[in-house]
Amino acid sequence: MSFDATGIGKASKWAAIGASSPPGRWGERLIHLVLLACAFVSILTTVGIVLVLVVEAGQFFREVSIVGFLTATKWTPLFRPQHFGILPLFCGTMLVSIGAILVALPIGLGSAIYLSEYASNPAREVVKPILEILAGIPSVVFGFLALVLVSPMIRSVFPSANVFNAASASIVVGFMILPMIVSLSEDVLRSVPLSLREAAYALGATKLDVTVKVVLPAAISGIVASFLLAISRAIGETMAVALAAGASPKLTLNPLESIQTMTAYIVQVSQGDTPAGSIEYRTIFAVGLALFVVTMTLNILAQWFVSRMREKYE
């Protein structure tokens, strides 16, 4: 699996040639239009996402003020008295995501450095497919493992921990985003020109010096991009956290407690029978909008870092 963060390649040079099909060939023009329509579907998808979220969330914000939504500290839309403050959900999401990054970043960066700087070709041939397998395991499977494997382990060390806790969700989400960090970071480490490494060796540096003081700083914007994309993935991660982290939105920094994330809340409401048009139903669009804005901001920021890296070495 490749993670081309921007996907902006160069247009084929033949794209410019034959742009004016012979006038008699209406079939050629029709095909051109059909293909254009296919590409347009992707634009329509984005427009659709924004429209659906903004329209339904707009209805929600007629009844709840935006400021209250963003600053109130209680989230109890499903029972009375209703409170609509997204902070507990946001806090839960960040608790899980930051925990996941703490798990994934050291391991992921270590593996990426190993694969890019140390590994022999046969070792790479073994490790890369294994990471691809890890990347292909569905989210719900990680949720299951959090419940039956990770949570009991945590509870045997910290008996006070809840069955559903943020830590077990963090750990499995960490392993879910790990392949992404390895793959992206390894790519940027490899794209650091060999001449930089050779210059450092010529000055008498050890391999450790070369890796830590030359290669890593040179690749830093790419690594930051992989970090941002990974945290965006962790924030959007749904089934694993819905199973493992619990369903009790609260403002806490204790990873042993049961919490609720924005995504898990959407799942919880979807599973129940909330009638369309009610304020409870509209909360999922408001939460969805918040989720969309946060992940989109991180993705765009990551793309900016990637393009900086490209400008430097390509």
């Binding site: 084929s12 296919c38 984005t46 989210s139 890796t211 924030i235 995504t263 969805g288």
Partner: protein, 291 residues
Amino acid sequence: MSLTETDSYRRRKAFMSQAFAGLCLLTTVFCVLVLVLLLASIFYHGFPYLTKSFLTNYPSRFPAKAGILPAMVSSMWLIGLTALFSVPIGVGAAVYLEEYARASRWRSLVQLNIANLAGVPSIVYGILGLGLFVRAMMLERSVLAGALTLTLVVLPIVILAAQEALRAVPDSIRGASYALGATRWQTIWHQVLPASLPGIMTGVILAISRALGEAAPLVAIGAATFMNFVPRSVSDEFSALPVQIFDWASRPQAEFRDVAAAGIIVLLTMLVVMNASAVYVRYRYGQRIRW
């Protein structure tokens, strides 16, 4: 600094360098071990429940009688329809971007948009599907609404993979075709697409395996978790393997968690078969064409 000091300094540096290499190797080995542990745990829990009747039964209140048939049939419907929708649109969009669109602001806008869509959380697609397909288009909670939602989820993956495959076809092939008087579409249809087919197929299979494992968007549009029938048309209600697994895993009884593990084995087996076929396609047909 005396000679012995620089010597010990060098030795310490060399040791640190070795230790760092060892540490990096250790993290990599750790990744591998974790994968083994995960799979072992799933098989340990799920194997006792993986019987023939598990594959042919309907969901039940009793763990011993619970079966996965409706979820399996639903998943087949979903990935079949998703492939049917996403392949023509995805490959069409890729052909447009690679072969037709000139380097322009419009092209980079579309390209940036696709890259962004690939990063949108799948649950957000579920909310889109709920608002657009289930409510606005009044498809209700049908197989069709599920498949259309999954199509939007995997479309960016199909487009990016197909673009990469098209880009790998050398321009000399296109040039030769144009030189023989072929039109643009003749060139694409008879030369470029056949040459890039293995790459496109691999990307499509990976995208469909993603669709097979996706639960969040289906839960958001209202997939069922207790079905006593199998869907027979696109307007029927549906479930899905990962949705059924989610339901079982979230129940409090320990037995149902083991049933969930059995479901996971079925899901992973299907994923392995699909990925193996992707590797086979890449290996078998990728070799036939050499530039």
